[in-house]
């Protein structure tokens, strides 16, 4: 507890005390310079200036706005606007450029890559991974296998209009549910799954008939996946003869795929992000390692 005692001279140091006592501890009076006190008062006056100029006291509804009308949200928006203005010359150059020609202009390419990387992180990474590595059911964008084609304008089309959505230009690729819709029975599905595994050099499952599977394949699958299972970019039919699998290469997963079918979905990004951002994304994705 703080209490007051009569100020007196400290016996040990010979210095005056302030007269404040805390639990028997007294404070020596080491006087500060008066200018220090004036600066302290000046900071108080300064703070009143802050109340007047900047948003400060809360009221029942809202708060004091300050005569400058400044607020942090507007400041951020102004900063963003400034940033956009700063980028505008390059953004305009990208908007006017032919997408195939971007790579020939080193300065534009540097800008487009940075632009695309940022847009990818904001919009694409949740499904395709921060580095474009994909996940089960979400295509890997850095390998050399493309469901809808790996040419830069094909990539741009896929990003711009998406897959399996309401946009009139959307890509649409549906793998039928051969089992659920009773087109094939369980044995046929097991056989064709084994046959599909052999297309890329994998071992067929035991107790399945690969030759019977080949027949099933020829009758049901070749329309989309082709006679050798090489797929078709036009239809979004994956290549079944390579080492890359969107959902998995084990027998059970392939069986499930044939049983229940598959359908990819991706939003149409151009209406959300605008054409220039989509172009930058296409250039960026094309450069990730698999572009054709």
């Amino acid at each position: 507890m703080a209490e007051q005692s009569k100020p007196h001279v400290d016996e040990y140091t010979g210095v005056d005390t302030t007269g404040h006592v805390w639990d028997g501890i007294r404070e020596l009076n080491k006087p500060l310079p008066r200018w220090w006190l004036w600066i302290f008062y000046a900071t108080i006056v300064w703070s009143i200036g802050y109340w007047v100029v900047y948003p400060s006291w809360p009221l029942i509804t809202g708060h004091l706005n300050g005569v400058l009308g400044w607020n942090s949200r507007t400041a951020v928006l102004e900063d963003l606007k400034g940033l956009q203005d700063l980028r505008a010359p390059m953004v305009n150059r990208l908007a006017d450029a032919e997408i195939a020609g971007v790579a020939d202009d080193a300065e534009l390419l540097d800008f487009t890559m940075a632009f695309g990387r940022a847009a990818f992180g904001d919009n694409c990474a949740p499904c395709h991974g921060a580095g474009g590595g994909g996940a089960v059911g979400y295509p890997n964008l850095i390998d050399d296998d493309w469901i809808w084609g790996g040419q830069i304008d094909e990539i741009r089309h896929t990003i711009a209009y998406g897959v399996g959505n309401d946009h009139p230009d959307s890509r649409l690729g549906i793998m039928q549910a051969f089992g659920r819709d009773e087109i094939l029975d369980g044995e046929q599905i097991a056989d064709v799954a084994s046959y599909v595994r052999t297309l890329s050099g994998l071992e067929p499952a035991p107790d399945t008939d690969v030759e019977a599977g080949a027949v099933v394949f020829a009758e049901n699958c070749v329309d989309c996946h082709g006679e050798e299972g090489l797929g078709d970019h036009e239809l979004g039919a994956p290549n079944l003869a390579d080492a890359i699998w969107l959902f998995g290469s084990d027998h059970a997963t392939i069986t499930e795929t044939i049983q229940n079918g598959r359908q990819g979905n991706m939003p149409a990004w151009e209406e959300r992000l605008g054409a220039t951002t989509v172009t930058a994304l296409a250039v960026y994705v094309h450069s990730l390692g698999g572009g054709e």
Binding site: K6, P7, H8, V9, D10, E11, Y12, T13, G14, D16, T17, T18, G19, N29, P31, L32, P33, R34, W35, W36, L37, A103, A106, L109, G129, A130, G131, G133, N140, I142, D143, D144, D145, N239, D242, A243, I244, S287, L288, G289
Partner: protein
């Protein structure tokens, strides 16, 4: 410190909580330490004001200023040294070196920094000299300030403030010249073409110099600066300090009285209590009261006391660089000891030498070509449609030379691997890239193999070779495949 009578009440001595500013009127003095201070003042201010104008030829692509902090381009030039942001640890090394030197100076001879080298001391000294020039010496200034304000005094004070402001303005002006080409900026400043930031900085430094050196003076040392507190904690009994030798000086009495005392066989000290040491003190303390936080140890009281002792025909150095321990030794009749080399100072010297050599080594072996690589993390590797494995990297080449250079990028350590560098030029099957003068440039590269021997990570290295010269830079990396620890 004397112990006060416990019965004495505060009314007798009570001090206010905030004390009014007592202006210090340091008196003119001459002598050894004053001379040292003048020399240090001219040298340090000379370095500060003139350095930006020293030219240094670095070729057409680089700035021709010897000392330049090029903030927009993130380069620091110091004569033949050019430092990139990646090498900012040199600055950290310099700061550590400076701290160690400060500790060593303190352990050997007290507050050498405060008394002679600190900008606050140097500029205050200069401002005091101007005050003395315009308003006269101590007695005249005290008399004038006590008396009424006459037009003449007003004029003299006016001249003083104008001179102070001119120096302060020049101080700010010199500051901004370290950040841009000095001769160009001087012209720009004069023709109001310079960036607004330059004027703002000149304004700030004009204000701080004028107020700190002109008005705050010793208040900065006593109340604002942390160093006196740190210094007090770092000092020890062997450190030399500006000391009043009370063994010789006490009991103090006038010259006449001391003759009488000698006749009676009574002790008489050499201090005649003339107060010259107090009159010349820039912080207004009395050195005879013992070690003081306010004492910046400039040695001016030594000069003042020596002058008096000389007139009286007594030995000089009643106030001198000494230790309290030696004073007690002399009083006890034991021999004095001067221990400059003691474990503490030797440690500081070793650290200074060690850090200095390390930095010199770093500078001498500084490479003008460097490469950093970043391995793609997500995913660490990718399997291609033919089953081969590919890793992606960002290869950043730092060309620290003032000319555009071409480099071959190659990968080492993985047999039968294929390297592809995006946007590289293929020359005879080699991947060649170009990096502009004094620039960094990042390239995307992939390394692929058909199959890997064994699982896990494989150590590889990116080798960057200057196509014209045979300079090489290497970055160690990993190649990851299935089963490797991501």
């Amino acid at each position: 410190m004397t112990t006060a009578e416990p019965t004495k009440l505060a009314e007798d001595f009570e001090e206010p909580f905030y004390k009014p500013h007592e202006k210090v009127y340091p008196q003119k003095v001459s002598g050894t330490y004053r001379r040292i201070k003048w020399i240090v003042l001219f040298v340090t201010l000379g370095i500060y004001y003139l350095t930006p104008f020293i030219r240094w030829d670095r070729g057409p692509e680089a700035p021709g200023q010897a000392v330049l902090l090029d903030l927009p381009n993130r380069r620091f030039y110091f004569f033949w040294i050019e430092i990139w942001p990646q090498e900012i640890y040199y600055v950290a090394g310099l700061l550590i070196l400076a701290a160690m030197i400060l500790f060593l100076m303190n352990a050997v001879a007290g507050r050498v920094w405060c008394g002679y080298l600190c900008p606050q001391t140097v500029w205050t000294d200069l401002f005091l000299a101007i005050e003395r020039f315009t308003e006269g010496d101590r007695r005249e200034r005290i008399r004038n300030d006590d008396g009424p304000m006459t037009p003449e005094l007003l004029a003299r004070k006016g001249v003083k403030h104008v001179l102070w402001l001119m120096i302060a303005w020049w101080t700010g002006g010199a500051w901004v010249l370290y950040f841009a080409d000095a001769p160009t900026l001087v012209v720009d400043l004069a023709t109001f073409q310079a960036p607004i930031a330059a004027y703002v900085w000149i304004g700030i430094l004009t204000f701080t110099t004028y107020s700190l050196a002109g008005h705050m003076r010793e208040q900065v040392c006593v109340y604002m600066c942390p160093w006196p507190r740190i210094q007090a904690a770092l000092t020890d009994e062997d450190a030399m300090n500006v000391t009043y030798r009370y063994d010789r000086g006490e009991p103090r009495m006038s010259a006449k009285k001391s003759v009488a005392a000698h006749k009676k066989g009574l002790p008489a000290g050499d201090c005649v209590d003339c107060h010259q040491c107090v009159a010349v003190c820039p912080t207004g303390i009395d050195i005879r009261e013992g070690p003081d936080l306010g004492c910046i140890q400039c040695g001016l009281c030594i000069d003042a006391c020596d002058t008096i002792m000389e007139k009286l025909g007594r030995p000089k150095r009643l106030i001198a660089y000494d230790t309290d321990l030696n004073i007690r030794r002399r009083m006890e009749g034991t021999p004095e000891k001067m221990r400059i080399f003691r474990p503490r100072t030797l440690l500081y010297m070793a650290l200074i030498a060690g850090i200095g050599l390390l930095m010199l080594y770093g500078l001498a072996t500084r490479s003008l070509l460097d490469v950093n690589t970043i391995h793609d993390r997500n995913p660490a590797f990718v399997v291609l449609s033919d089953g081969s494995i590919r890793n992606g990297y960002t290869v950043r080449i730092l060309n620290k030379r003032n000319e555009t250079r071409r480099f071959e990028i190659a990968v080492d350590g993985l047999p039968a691997s294929t390297l592809e560098v995006f946007n590289a030029e293929m020359i005879d099957g080699r991947q060649v890239v170009e990096v502009g003068a004094d620039q960094t440039r990042a390239f995307r590269a992939t390394v692929s193999v058909d199959s890997l021997d064994g699982e896990g990570s494989h150590a590889i290295a990116f080798v960057i070779r200057d196509v014209e010269a045979d300079t090489i830079a290497t970055a160690n990396e990993m190649f990851r495949g299935p089963g490797s620890n991501e």
